[in-house]
């Protein structure tokens, strides 16, 4: 029946439907009022009609109305909060580098862990419904703000000085008195006091409007804009090309290409420092407490031969930086962070010889580099052709050789041994440079007859080279970051002006010697009363601030 509502105020102003207080004189519109006559007025958004308060809502209006409700917004916040709590019950999947989630949760936490995993809660924050909640909060932010900010802006920019008596007497801060003497002079005196308190004062005959800090009313809308920018920036990050997240391991002294880029990074030196016992307090003495992880890094950009694997790329140094935790290398949006390290020594190269046990002759030595071995080694009468290499040899579940990692933890090589007294197609020979691997994987058994005659072995420690420590770096680009920071900054600015300043207004009118003063603030009625009391004290009326309270002191 809203369409039949009479929204014309007695002052002659035609208000939009849904208006609580006349836009012109502030008189409460009875039809729209729920509470009783004596209670303080509902001053939210200055009693304006919000956009959502339409008479004939269509589908779009209904959706709009749903999202424009603060109650719905609070519910969305609470649901998101509860969902976030659920996600912290057990460790999320993304906290692990490598493990099998399908069995992990059940093994670690029992049946409840299994249920947790099967409900998808082990990936709560990436789930469609959690992201859906965030999108709904974003929508609510936009619609709630638009629904209120424009009508409010309109209402605040064309304020009447002389308001309806009921509007004044039903504010939360009210003062009435009988004025003797010249009314205009009295108002002038009070205006002076209020100006001193940095109020902007307008008068209209025997009515006065004093206002300050109106900007604080825009705080909530500004912070919502900041949040929207922030949320959009978060969404931007999921667009391909906007962010990259790679891990590289660079042994000391080596250059490694950063995947999917034309950049190369060299680890000139990696250092890890521990605190000495003198630096540690009693309880920690003897423990290895890290003090510093540092990679002396050089970043190169490829200038030529970048895509041809057979040619050495030409590199140009672009940046040199000592990467430590809390101080990444940064170049044109690319950042390299100290992530981890591995200083267990690994074989870099060996210098073995080939021994013919029947003749007792040795051939070689030849240099066998673990990572970049040559394909053919010519050793006198014989040649070794490299057929296969495994950096971290193991046998998979069906018994086939495979490699566990790209690090030379258990290197193994399969050569094809060729020579005049051997079959033309050659004989295979498997070689484990490390003695313990040789025994563990029974090199002699594998090589069979060939192994009884030939042997590749390292005659001395000379020529055995180990790699330096490996640093692992997290290389990232995140082009959305500036927008994230801008969004966060705008949010902070909005919150600050919305909470640390309050919009305060004082209206008064004198009708035949009777003063009626009403004051309103959106927050902090305590401060509002103090302002009024202090202004009144300035013109000789001593009054306890608390006595201005019109009841229902709901700040």
């Amino acid at each position: 029946m809203l369409s039949f509502q009479n929204t014309k105020c007695e002052c002659g102003h035609q208000n939009p439907i849904g208006t609580v207080l006349c836009e012109n004189c502030g008189k409460p519109l009875e039809e729209a009022e729920e509470a009783g006559k004596d209670t303080p007025l509902e001053m939210r958004y200055d009693g304006i009609a919000r956009r959502s308060q339409k008479s004939n809502p269509g589908i779009i209006d209904r959706v709009w109305n749903f999202f424009s409700s603060v109650k719905i917004a609070v519910r969305l916040i609470v649901i998101t909060l509860l969902a976030a709590i659920v996600g912290t019950i057990f460790t999320q999947e993304n906290a692990f580098v490598s493990f099998d989630p399908s069995t992990y949760y059940e093994e670690k936490y029992g049946w409840i862990g299994k249920v947790y995993y099967e409900l998808g809660l082990s990936n709560t924050y990436e789930s469609w419904w959690f992201i859906g909640l965030l999108v709904m909060i974003g929508t609510s932010l936009v619609i709630c703000s638009l629904d209120r900010v424009l009508p409010l802006y309109r209402a605040l920019s064309k304020q009447q000085v002389r308001k309806h008596g009921e509007f004044l007497s039903r504010q939360k801060t009210v003062y009435t008195a009988d004025i003797k003497g010249d009314e205009a002079a009295w108002i002038g005196g009070l205006a002076e006091q209020l100006k001193r308190k940095r109020y902007r004062v307008k008068t209209d005959g025997t009515a006065l409007l004093a206002e300050k800090n109106r900007f604080s009313r825009w705080g909530p809308y500004i912070n919502h804009i900041g949040l929207i920018i922030f949320l959009l920036a978060v969404l931007l990050r999921s667009i391909p090309g906007w962010s990259m997240d790679n891990y590289i391991s660079v042994p000391e002294g080596e250059v490694v290409q950063i995947p999917d880029t034309s950049y190369y990074l060299k680890n000139e030196k990696f250092t890890v420092d521990y605190y000495t016992d003198e630096e540690l307090p009693e309880g920690l003495k003897g423990t290895a407490r890290a003090k510093l992880y540092e990679t002396k890094a050089v970043l190169y950009e490829c200038t030529a031969n970048c895509d041809d694997p057979s040619v050495q790329p030409e590199l140009e140094e672009v940046k040199r930086h000592n990467i430590i935790v809390n101080d990444p290398l940064s170049y044109k949006g690319l950042k390299a962070y100290q992530f981890g390290f591995d200083d267990t020594p690994r074989l870099k190269a060996v210098n073995p010889v080939l021994i013919d046990k029947e003749s007792g002759k040795t051939y070689g030595p030849f240099e066998l580099d673990m990572r970049n071995p040559k394909l053919i080694y010519t050793l006198g009468d014989y040649t070794l052709e490299l057929r296969q290499k495994y950096m971290d040899f193991t046998l998979d579940s069906s018994g086939n050789p495979t490699t566990k990692s790209r690090e030379p933890n258990a290197p193994a090589f399969i050569f094809l041994l060729k020579g005049a007294d051997l079959p033309a197609e050659g004989v295979p020979y498997m070689y484990f440079p490390k003695q313990n691997d040789k025994e563990r994987f029974s090199q002699d058994t594998i090589n069979g007859e060939t192994g009884k005659r030939f042997e590749i072995k390292v005659p001395s420690m000379e020529g055995v080279a180990f790699t330096g420590a490996i640093t692992s770096l997290n290389v990232r680009t995140d082009y959305a970051m500036p927008y994230i920071w801008v969004g966060a900054g705008i949010f902070m600015f909005g919150v600050l002006i919305g909470t640390y300043w309050q919009h305060r207004r004082i209206w008064l009118r004198i009708d035949e010697g009777r003063l009626l003063l009403g004051a309103h603030t959106n927050k902090n009625n305590y401060g509002m009363r103090a302002d009024v009391a202090s202004a009144l004290r300035g013109i000789g009326i001593d009054i306890e601030p608390k006595s201005l309270d019109n009841g229902g002191n709901k700040s």
Binding site: L81, I324, W485
Partner: protein
């Protein structure tokens, strides 16, 4: 005397000043009706004395902080002890700020004991200055931790005012269903506070007599290939074992009141980090807390809430509501800045991502969402007064879980702040 020793002494001074500050607030409130003066004069006089003593305590606390900073070479906010100490100091600062706005001395009667409890709780943790690990070695340690703690301190003041509001308004004489429910929950809140006090008391009592018990625990674990392996671990207790670790043998159990053997075994399904010791501590705290609560009930001959309620007579409840809201409104931007924005900036520098859903991060977000909901609810009718006060009380529980609970119960990257 080294600077760090001086620092500890300064802390002791602060601790006693806080205790006296609380005592004087109690005198100010409780004594106003039986002193010779007019109640308002008595309140004003003792309220001022109490405030001055509290501010002196804060000054001593600040001295502790600064000297420890200089002596230790880095800002003392890098482990649980230092952080809780800083939080307590921030609460005192927030109290002074809120006091400067509202001039309500009685706020101190609830803020001071809160500070004392937090400071005492901090002392449960190891107090040595520990050299910084690389991840913490950044000036963001100063900025992020201090700002976040300051925001939380204002929430703490909001909590104190909210609790005061409840103790002031919940009528312990009424017997209708609503009043009884309110009474029960207020009493429960007080009971929990008594348990926390008892926990601290128990820790220091057993530390005082140097109690020790130790066990050797066998832990059977099955790795991903299905191979069973057994490891043994020594578990040290500093309280008599009501619950011993699961599947463990005594190494040494000192006798306590004739108790020579553990009474129960921790259930096998509790297998978090130090689960058995935590369970034992919790059981002890509830036990001693309940005894303490029982003694208080017997001494007062009524519920604690009913005993405190008359003391609050004459305090304007709407002022309390306003103070609680205002403290939270002041704390909210500071908390957002410190616990979320500065945290994101630091995380971006140190961990290469501004947000990673680490439990501590998530709980900071939960705290933020909670107070965001609170601030929005304050806009609507019907969410002032009692409901708002309860929200302020529960909010502080959320804050404390974020600060302590996450480290004790959940695991994550912030583990250096652990026990």
């Amino acid at each position: 005397m080294s600077l760090l020793d001086f620092s500890s002494d300064a802390f002791l001074v602060a601790f006693f000043l806080y205790c006296f500050g609380f005592l004087f607030y109690a005198v100010a409130v409780a004594g106003r009706n039986w002193s010779n003066r007019k109640p308002e004069d008595h309140l004003r006089r003792w309220g001022r004395i109490a405030f001055i003593v509290s501010v002196l305590g804060f000054a001593a606390h600040l001295t502790f902080f600064i000297t420890r900073w200089i002596g230790g070479g880095h800002i003392p906010t890098s482990n649980m002890y230092e952080f809780m100490m800083f939080l307590a100091m921030a609460i005192m600062f927030a109290f002074v700020v809120v006091y400067a706005i509202y001039r309500k001395p009685l706020l101190g009667m609830f803020t001071l004991p809160l500070t004392v409890i937090i400071v005492a709780y901090a002392s449960v943790f190891p107090q040595e200055v520990q050299p910084l690990i690389p991840a913490l070695n950044s000036y963001w340690l100063r900025i992020h931790v201090t700002t976040a703690a300051l925001g939380e301190a204002f929430f703490a003041v909001g909590f104190a005012a909210g609790l005061m509001y409840l103790l002031r308004t919940v009528d312990f004489k009424k017997t209708d269903a609503q009043s009884r429910r309110d009474q029960r929950w207020v009493e429960f809140t007080l009971y929990v506070i008594v348990i926390i006090v008892a926990f601290i008391g128990t820790v220091f009592a057993f530390r005082g007599v140097d109690y020790k018990a130790s066990f050797i625990q066998e832990i059977v674990s099955i790795d991903s290939k299905g191979i069973e392996s057994t490891t043994t671990e020594t578990v040290e207790y500093s309280m008599p074992p009501i619950f011993k670790p699961y599947n463990s043998q005594n190494i040494e159990v000192q006798s306590f009141l004739g108790m020579k053997e553990p009474l129960f075994e921790t259930p096998s399904w509790m297998h978090g980090v130090n689960a058995a010791r935590k369970l034992n501590t919790i059981v002890w705290s509830i036990l001693t807390g309940s005894i303490l609560y029982g003694i208080l009930r017997l001494a007062l001959r009524r519920r604690l809430g009913a005993a405190i309620n008359p003391l609050m007579d004459g305090i304007d409840e709407e002022d309390l509501d306003e103070i609680s809201y205002r403290a939270i409104a002041i704390g909210y931007p500071i908390f957002t800045l410190g616990a979320l924005i500065f945290a994101m900036i630091w995380a971006y520098i140190a961990w290469s991502r501004f947000w990673g859903w680490d439990p501590k991060e998530v709980w900071a977000l939960i705290t933020w969402l909670y107070y965001t909901a609170y601030l929005h609810l304050r806009l609507s009718r019907g969410w002032h007064g009692k409901k708002s006060a309860w929200l302020a009380v529960i909010g502080f529980v959320v804050v404390m879980f974020t600060l302590i609970g996450v480290n004790l119960v959940l695991v994550g990257l912030h583990s250096y702040a652990g026990v």
